[in-house]
Each structure stands twice: as structure tokens, then as C-alpha cells.
């Protein structure tokens, strides 16, 4: 009897109704959020004694959100199919880890997951602030609670993850998680990306607090500096992990498809990167106050806009959640954000006047402004291209989708300018650089860039990496020809740019190390070169951490260049037969069938051999691309690629078809040079960011000497832990391949000629189900029929242009991925380019105006100023009367320390 009672007690579901408890918990969260918000506002409006209460109420709210999330996780683990969300996104055969990932696999759960992560950031921020930034704290808490309230209201009114199933009868089993989402990357990529997305709430909250309180100087920037770096790191890693996921799991051979959802996370990254640079200018010289507030508001807005794009179902995307009515809530929330930000900035405009102005256009500040300009121009361009279907629907009544070819072509010039700017910035001094110095500083890096570019052009073809590659024109206009020429020269320009940037970074390190060695030798405590380098980085972690991040970005650019040299081959083989790709030979050994509880698997076992001639073959390893058919989704066979990654190229094997009777397998193999450099660049980026955000040894020791050692050490431990996690995430592709994986693009596409590639890349699958996929990637039967039809037409002599025209007439304007260069479609590129040019013109005009003012003030003060003798110890302080006072000595001591 007692055993039965105990068993009944263990079965929590029998005495606790999880759906009801979950819904009531969400209601409780809303009440507590309102409570914390009210207390925060009151604390900010003249009742500071309420701040402690507000902080505690915020922590209570966060704990309650965690309760709601863990309740849903519990419901998944116990297969509580009374809950609609659980029934829809899980089934009994799923292992526990996919049951955990199901939490964010659908709309409702991912909103709860979003709230949970926001609470994680909020808790960390509340604990970190303690007795710091007391004036800002109440408004930071109020802003965070307002954001949380929006998501809780959204869940309670429109997307309750605890809502009961429609049918009265509880289903025996659930529908199961989409096979596309059942892979290793679903456990790491979305949480990382979400962390990066949601984390921008923290800097935004500090900005709002600064506006509410009128404390608009450097305080809020100082407060959110490390948060910005941490969030930026998470978002960068999220994007890179997404690219890695796409590359290793989706089976179409690329890592970035310019899908609206990818763009939605890329746009905040662009604006956030601009903010990361320009905030340094305000911290140093109290300039660009309005600009920085605008940038952080825009970054946060873009995260909400991105979420809106993903969830409202307005734009077709392979990543989108199901269409729902939550879009209207997001529109309202975005309107509130815009109105609030604009009103607050306008209200505080008189207080936002810069204390200083840019003195010279040849300065680091101005280089940062140019960097901001190019990043915002890129964001604007991606925004217009992403929302173009909505724009055309509004004006023309038909959605026109913009495909990857347009992005790839237009982003090349932007990318090259950004790369070069990242090399120019470090060469500039703050305030104003001298002409002679600039010539000296630019000489060697420019020669290096030029030399490497020329070397690539002349010697590249001999190693199969030509500097100039043939590119087709996406438009039948002069614009198309110019873009094609730039794309053709991209490999050469990119390697030249990379060499230039690397040379500038090396030069910066070398100069810093040399100066340090010289100074320490003068003081009689000489340092060796390695010691000087380590101490140099330790002393200016932000600066040199930033340079290391730039090295990571350069590595990524090298990886992107490799895409120009892809070589692929496809063959239908019987066991024992071979095929050649580049200088590799692939032998098809045997088909292999396997099954587990969830799916049937068909593998093609391959042996990878180096060399093309039979006499000189050397075995490198084995590959096993596969097809999986899941029990719950038999109509969605997935393609499992297998990749052998090396430093200079990847061999990417895809199983297109396999016939169990004849044992014949159609195998596609792509050799992709330099892809590894993208992931390597990601690791370097993580390292650089961690260096830039880590506390100094002195800071940690100083804090530890105070009263709360556990908290202080936890900051360092937190940085170390997040670094290890992110490194592990990047270093785990081998593990990833050992997991069950799946493909978003069911099936692979064989492309036989360059004309076929151009044609298929510019035509969209119009079956109605394959959102935004081109015929070059879509594996559905409709797309395969259409490809056959187009191939036959090409064989009969039809040109690509004729077939594109026919396809457009047959399926409408929206069936092409490259809108024609005419009418409204021309605004696609003309508007952002025009806007960018206008902004650049404005920037140069303001820069010149400020520079002239500085020259005028210089002229008036010239006579009164006595130049210093050049002795570094001589302050040259015009206010000093001769004897250095006690403050001079104290200042010297602090500067040396």
C-alpha cells in the first residue's frame, strides 16, 4: 500500500496539473514583472530606498520564469501530450536531449526560451551592478522588466506554451520534432544565437537609463562596455555556428544562403559592430553621444524586427516558424520602441551636445565613423533586399523574392571596403595623425597588399587558385557588368586586402613591442620580445584584443575567397568504381543499410584517395554520406553529408540517390578550398574578444582585496567558462558528425554545366511548399521535374536568358531570384547605394567643417602656446607655472602604474 502511495507521489503529473500550473506561473510572472517595474520606476523617481526591493522583485521574477521553463521541460520529458506544444513537437521515441531542444523548436516554446534567456542576462546584470551605477539601476531594471512583460503578455494572449490540445482525447503519441531540427547543432546554435540576440537588451537598457536620468556622459558606456563585448561575442558565435550547421548539416554545400532569418540575425550584428567601434570615441573624447544612442537603439530594434520577420510569417523562409497572429503584437512593440527612443533622444538633445569635435579627417575617430558608415550601408542594403518581397507586394501587388546571387554580388564591394577600413583604422592616431607618419605607416602594408595581390594574379593559376575568375553578369545592364568585373577580381582583391590588414596589425604589434623593449631597457629592466608582447597585450587588452579579432576576420575573408574555387563532380557508381574530383579519387566501396528506433539509414561507404593517377594513389580516409528516413516523417528523407576537412580544402560528399537492388549510388563530391579558415577565424575572433573583455590581473586582485571574493572570482570564472563553452562548440564538428543529423534541403541537386548553374540559381521553386529555395538547391519533386524540363529546353538550343524570360512569363515576376534591373527593381540597389553615397557626402562635409573650426581655433591659440621640447616627462602644460604640483606627481605615478 505504502509502495503504491509512494509511486503515486512520484508521478507528479497525477497530483499536479502541469498545464494549469504552467499557465498560472506565467500569470504570476506577469504580476511580479509589473511589481518589479513599478518599484523600479518609483526608485528612479525620487525614492531610492525602493531600489533594493526592486532588485529583489526582479530576481524573483527571473526565478519564476525559470520555473515556467522547467515545467515545460518536465512536460516534454514525461510526454504530457495534453499540452498542445508538447504533442506537436515531440514523440515517445525521441531521446532526452532532443526533448530538451524541443523547448525552442516551435513558436510558443521559443518565446518562453527567449524570456528565460532574457532573465538569465537580467539576473547576471542585477548581481553584477550591486552598489554600482546607482542612478542608472532603477531605469535599467524598469526597461528590462518592460521587455520581459511584452514577451509574457505575448505568451499569455497568443502563444501559450502550456495551452491544452484542441481535441478532447489525449493523443497516444506526439507528432515528433521535425527531422530537420533533430541534430546536434540544434542543441548549440539556437541558444548561442538567442543569447547574442537577447543580450542586446542589456546595453539598450543602460542607454534608456541614461536617457531617463539625463546622465548622458560616459557612465552608461562604461557600464555596458563588457556587456556589449559579451553579447557581440555570442551573436558572432551564433552566426558562425549557424554557418557551420548549414555547411555540415544541410547538405547543399554552402554556409550562408542569405535567407531572411539569417539576415535577421546578421543585421543586428552589423549595427552592433558599428556601435562597438563608435562607443570607444565617446569614451575617449565625449563625442558622438547622439550617434551612439541611435546605434544602440537601432541594434535593439533590429533584434525585435528580426524576431518579427521570423515569427510573423510575412516573408518566406526555410527557417520561419509557422504563420501566426503574433506579428501584430510585434508591430505594436516596435512602434513603442521607435516612439520611446525618438522622444527620449529629442527630449535630451540639449544635453547631448558633444564636448569635443573631430579635429581631423585623418584620425582614428574619423576612420571609425567611416567604418560605421559602411556597416550601416551594408545593414540598409540587406534590410531592403530582405524586405523587398513586402515592398513589391505593396507597390506591385506581387511578392518579388531576392535570391543569393544578388546578395553575393552586391556584398562583395562592401566587404572589400570594410576589410580595407579595418586595416586603415589602426594606423591612425587618435585626434589627428601627421602626414609624414601616415606615409611611413601606410608604405609597408600597402606594398605588402600590392605585392600579394600581384603574386596571386600571376602565380595563382599555377596552383589552381587564379586571382581573376570568370563571373556571369546578374543584370543585362552596365551595372551587371561592373558587378561581374568586381566579382571576378574578388579573389585577388581579397588576398591583397587581407595581406594589407595583416601587415598593419603586425606593424602595430611590432611597434608596440619595440617601444616597450626600448622603454624598459632605458629604465634598466629590459624585457625579452615574448615578455614584452604578453605585457603589451595585458596592458592594453582592449586595443590588442581588437587587433586579434581583426586577424580572425581576415582569416574568414580568406575562407570566403575559397568559394570562388569550388570544384565538383557527380557520378553514378557501382561498388568498386571510382570518380575523380580535383586531385582526389573517390572509390565507392559498398552500400550499407542500418536502422534504429527512429529512422532507417542508407549509407554509401567511400574511400578517399589522394592523386588522380592509379599508380600514385594514397589513401586519406573514408567517407560515408547517407540518406535518412524518419519513422514519424517518412515523406521527408534527409541528406547526410560527410566532410573531410583539411587546412587547404574540404572534400564534401553527398549521397544523391541509392538503389538497394542494383547497389548503384549517385554520389556528388565537392572540393571546397580554404573553408577551414572560416572556422579558424571564428576561434581567433573568440580569443580576441575574450582578451578585450577580460579583467586585468590588477582589477581582479584589487577586487579580491575587498570584501566579496566569491563574486569577483566568479567574473573571471564566468569569462573562462564561456570561452571554454564557445571553443568547445567550435571544436566539436567531429562529434557532430557522430550524431544523428539531417538536412533542411531534402535531396541534393546535380548541376552539370555552368549555364545550368546560372539558370537554376536564378529560378525559384514554385511548388508552393519550398519557401524561397532556388532550383539550384531545392530537392523536391516539382523542382526536379522543372530542372529536367529546363535541361531539355537547353539541349534544344534555348539560351539562359530566353529560358529565364519564359519561366517568368509562366510563373510570374516572383519566380526569379534576381529581379530585373528596371523600374522599381532598380530601386533595390539604387536606393541603398544612393543613401550610402549621401551619407558619405554628409560625413565628409561634417568632417571638413569640424576640421576647419579646429584650424581656426588653432590659429587663434598659436601665439599663446609654447611647444614642448619633446621630452616625454615634460608635460608641456600651459597652465603649469614651472614647479610641478602634487597633482602632477600623483598623475605621473598613476600613469606609470
Amino acid at each position: 500500500m505504502s509502495v503504491a502511495l509512494f509511486s503515486a507521489f512520484l508521478n507528479v503529473s497525477s497530483w499536479v496539473d502541469v498545464p494549469t500550473l504552467g499557465t498560472w506561473t506565467l500569470c504570476g510572472v506577469l504580476v511580479l514583472t509589473a511589481h518589479a517595474f513599478s518599484l523600479s520606476v518609483m526608485a528612479g523617481r525620487g525614492r531610492p530606498h525602493l531600489l533594493t526591493s526592486a532588485r529583489l522583485a526582479t530576481l524573483a521574477t527571473c526565478a519564476l520564469v525559470a520555473v515556467a521553463l522547467f515545467l515545460l521541460a518536465y512536460a516534454f520529458q514525461t510526454h504530457d501530450f495534453r499540452i498542445r506544444y508538447v504533442a506537436r513537437y515531440s514523440d515517445r521515441s525521441m531521446p532526452w536531449y532532443y526533448l530538451v531542444t524541443s523547448l525552442w523548436g516551435g513558436q510558443d516554446g521559443s518565446l518562453l526560451w527567449w524570456s528565460f534567456l532574457l532573465c538569465g542576462w537580467t539576473t547576471a546584470c542585477v548581481l553584477w551592478m550591486r552598489n554600482r551605477f546607482l542612478a542608472l539601476q532603477p531605469w535599467v531594471l524598469a526597461t528590462l522588466m518592460a521587455i520581459l512583460a511584452f514577451f509574457v503578455i505575448l505568451m499569455l494572449w497568443s502563444a501559450n506554451p502550456f495551452a491544452l490540445s484542441w481535441s478532447a482525447e489525449v493523443p497516444a503519441d506526439g507528432d515528433g520534432l521535425n527531422p530537420l531540427l533533430q541534430n546536434y547543432w540544434m542543441t548549440i546554435h539556437p541558444p548561442t544565437l538567442y543569447m547574442g540576440f537577447i543580450g542586446w537588451s542589456i546595453p539598450f537598457a543602460f542607454a534608456m537609463a541614461a536617457l531617463f536620468t539625463g546622465r548622458l556622459h560616459e557612465e552608461w558606456l562604461h557600464a555596458c562596455r563588457r556587456w556589449v563585448l559579451a553579447v557581440w561575442l555570442f551573436l558572432s558565435c551564433g552566426l558562425l555556428l549557424g554557418a557551420l550547421w548549414s555547411y555540415e548539416e544541410l547538405g547543399w554545400g554552402g554556409y550562408w544562403a542569405w535567407d531572411p532569418v539569417e539576415n535577421a540575425s546578421f543585421m543586428p550584428w552589423l549595427v552592433g559592430t558599428a556601435f562597438l567601434h563608435s562607443m570607444m570615441v565617446q569614451e575617449r573624447y565625449a563625442m558622438l553621444k547622439v550617434w551612439n544612442l541611435f546605434l544602440i537603439c537601432l541594434t535593439f530594434f533590429m533584434t525585435i524586427f528580426g524576431t518579427f520577420l521570423t515569427r510573423a510569417g510575412l516573408i518566406s523562409s526555410v527557417h520561419s516558424f509557422a504563420k501566426s497572429d503574433i506579428g501584430v503584437y510585434f508591430v505594436g512593440f516596435m512602434a513603442v520602441i521607435i516612439v520611446a527612443c525618438m522622444a527620449l533622444i529629442l527630449w535630451r538633445l540639449p544635453k547631448l551636445k558633444s564636448d569635443n569635435r573631430i579635429e581631423s579627417m585623418v584620425s582614428r575617430e574619423f576612420a571609425f565613423l567611416l567604418n560605421n558608415w559602411i556597416l550601416l550601408a551594408m545593414m540598409g542594403f540587406v534590410l531592403i533586399l530582405t524586405t523587398f518581397p513586402l515592398i513589391t507586394e505593396f507597390f506591385q501587388g506581387e511578392q518579388v523574392t531576392v535570391g543569393p546571387p544578388v546578395y553575393n554580388r552586391w556584398m562583395v564591394p562592401f566587404g572589400i571596403v570594410l576589410l580595407v577600413l579595418s586595416g586603415i583604422g589602426p594606423l591612425m592616431a587618435w585626434r589627428r595623425a601627421t602626414q609624414s607618419h601616415l606615409l611611413r605607416a601606410f608604405l609597408k602594408p600597402s606594398l605588402m597588399g600590392l605585392g600579394v595581390g600581384l603574386l596571386h594574379f600571376f602565380a595563382g593559376p599555377t596552383v589552381g587558385l587564379p586571382g581573376w575568375v570568370a563571373s556571369s553578369s546578374i543584370y543585362e545592364t552596365a551595372t551587371g557588368d561592373v558587378l561581374a568585373a568586381i566579382a571576378s577580381a574578388f579573389p585577388m582583391m581579397c588576398t591583397a586586402g587581407c595581406a594589407f590588414v595583416l601587415a598593419t596589425i603586425f606593424q602595430e604589434f611590432w611597434r608596440g613591442i619595440r617601444a616597450r623593449v626600448r622603454n624598459t631597457a632605458t629604465r634598466g629592466q629590459p624585457e625579452s620580445l615574448p615578455t614584452a608582447m604578453v605585457r603589451l597585450i595585458g596592458k592594453s587588452r582592449r586595443r590588442y584584443g581588437g587587433y586579434i579579432v581583426h586577424v580572425g576576420i581576415v582569416c574568414m575573408y580568406l575562407g570566403f575567397t575559397g568559394a570562388a574555387y569550388d570544384i565538383e563532380n557527380e557520378a553514378a557508381l557501382l561498388p568498386g568504381e571510382t570518380m575523380n574530383v580535383a586531385d582526389y579519387t573517390i572509390r565507392y566501396d559498398r552500400p550499407r543499410m542500418a536502422t534504429d528506433g527512429a529512422k532507417h539509414m542508407a549509407f554509401a561507404d567511400l574511400t578517399l584517395l589522394k592523386g588522380a593517377a592509379p599508380s600514385s594513389l594514397r589513401t586519406l580516409g573514408t567517407l560515408a554520406p547517407a540518406k535518412f528516413v524518419y519513422r514519424t516523417h517518412p515523406d521527408m528523407p534527409t541528406t547526410e553529408v560527410d566532410i573531410r576537412s583539411r587546412l587547404f580544402d574540404d572534400v564534401y560528399a553527398i549521397l544523391s540517390t541509392i538503389d538497394p537492388k542494383t547497389r548503384r549510388a549517385t554520389i556528388r563530391v565537392v572540393v571546397r578550398p580554404l573553408v577551414m579558415w572560416i572556422w579558424l577565424g571564428g576561434l581567433i575572433l573568440i580569443l580576441g574578444t575574450v582578451i578585450a573583455m577580460s579583467p586585468t590581473v590588477q582589477e581582479v586582485l584589487a577586487r579580491n582585496s575587498k570584501r566579496a571574493p566569491p563574486r569577483n572570482m566568479s567574473a573571471a570564472k564566468g569569462v573562462a567558462a564561456s570561452t571554454i563553452i564557445l571553443f568547445a562548440a567550435f571544436l566539436s564538428p567531429a562529434l557532430a558528425r557522430a550524431q544523428d543529423t539531417s538536412s533542411l534541403h531534402a535531396g541534393s541537386v546535380s548541376v552539370h554545366t555552368e549555364d545550368e548553374r546560372v539558370l537554376f540559381e536564378r529560378t525559384l521553386c514554385m511548388c508552393g511548399d519550398c519557401a524561397r529555395l532556388t532550383l539550384a538547391t531545392c530537392g523536391c519533386s516539382w523542382a526536379e521535374d522543372k530542372r529536367q524540363h529546363l535541361r531539355q529546353a537547353m539541349a534544344r538550343g534555348s539560351s539562359v536568358q530566353e529560358l529565364l524570360k519564359q519561366y517568368r512569363e509562366e510563373h510570374g515576376v516572383g519566380s526569379l531570384s534576381v529581379p530585373s534591373d528596371e523600374g522599381l527593381s532598380r530601386a533595390l540597389w539604387a536606393a541603398p547605394i544612393g543613401g550610402g553615397i549621401l551619407a558619405l557626402g554628409g560625413l565628409l562635409w561634417v568632417g571638413r567643417r569640424w576640421t576647419r573650426r579646429r584650424k581656426a581655433s588653432d590659429a587663434t591659440s598659436e601665439s599663446s602656446f609654447t611647444p614642448a621640447t619633446g621630452d616625454p616627462g615634460d608635460t608641456g602644460d600651459p597652465s603649469d607655472t614651472g614647479d610641478p604640483d602634487a597633482y602632477d606627481q600623483q598623475l605621473d605615478r598613476e600613469l606609470e602604474g
Binding site: V12, H35, A36, L39, R47, P48, H49, L51, T52, S53, L56, A57, L59, A60, A63, L64, A66, V67, F70, L71, Y74, Q77, N131, R132, L134, H217, E218, E219, H222, E283, R284, L427, M428, W430, R431, R432, A433, T434, H437, R440, A441, R511, A515, S540, R543, F865, P867, A868, G870, P872, D874, T875, G876, D877, D885, Y887, D888, Q890, L891, L895
Partner: protein, 115 residues
């Protein structure tokens, strides 16, 4: 096993939520003038310290740019003087804030026995 793991987490979070809520309401009872429950309001001093730190960083950058020959010596000296003067003003202001406590500090120091 895993469901129990989540149950433990749920219970812990419930306890934390109740604890923080109770403490939040208890803190509400604090009198506005009760300093034991009110964080120290040394906001003005924090501002000055932040500005001083930013200026010290700017001075470091300036000297580094000079050491790396990025600046004209005249520009360097002029800018250095300006930044130093501003930093010294802040240091004076910081000391001025502590001035009322100085006699008490001196008195206490005199009571410290010499070792």
C-alpha cells in the same frame, strides 16, 4: 531520472522566487531615511572616478601613439597638456569631496601607535 532533475530545478526556483518576493516586500517596509537599507548615494564621486579613468586611458593612448611616431610632437604636447589639466581638475575635485573628513582622518592617524 531526467524528469526528477527538472522537478528539483522547479522546486529550487520556486523557493528562490518565494524567498526573493518575501524579501522584496520586507524591503518595502524600510523607512525612506533608513540608510541601512538604501545603497550609498555616492553617484557624483563615481562620475568623477569614471571620467578620470577615461582620461588616464586617453593619456596612455596618446603616449603610445607618440611612441609609435603616429603624432606630431607639437600635437602630442598640446593634447597631453589639455588631458593632464582636465585630469588634475578631476583629482582636485575628488580630493575636495573628501576635504570635510580630513581632520577626522588626521586625528585618527595620530592615534595609531608607531610600530
Amino acid at each position: 531520472m531526467l524528469p526528477w532533475f527538472f522537478i528539483v530545478l522547479i522546486v529550487v526556483m520556486w523557493v528562490l522566487a518565494l524567498y526573493f518576493t518575501a524579501r522584496s516586500f520586507r524591503a518595502l517596509g524600510a523607512h525612506p531615511t533608513d540608510q541601512s537599507n538604501t545603497p550609498r548615494q555616492d553617484v557624483a564621486r563615481a562620475d568623477l572616478l569614471l571620467r578620470k579613468q577615461a582620461l588616464l586611458e586617453a593619456l596612455h593612448d596618446l603616449d603610445r601613439d607618440m611612441e609609435e611616431n603616429k603624432l606630431d610632437p607639437k600635437d602630442h604636447a598640446e593634447e597631453r597638456a589639455r588631458l593632464r589639466e582636465e585630469t588634475k581638475q578631476i583629482m582636485r575635485a575628488l580630493d575636495a569631496q573628501l576635504a570635510p573628513y580630513q581632520p577626522e582622518v588626521d586625528r585618527l592617524l595620530t592615534q595609531v601607535p608607531e610600530s
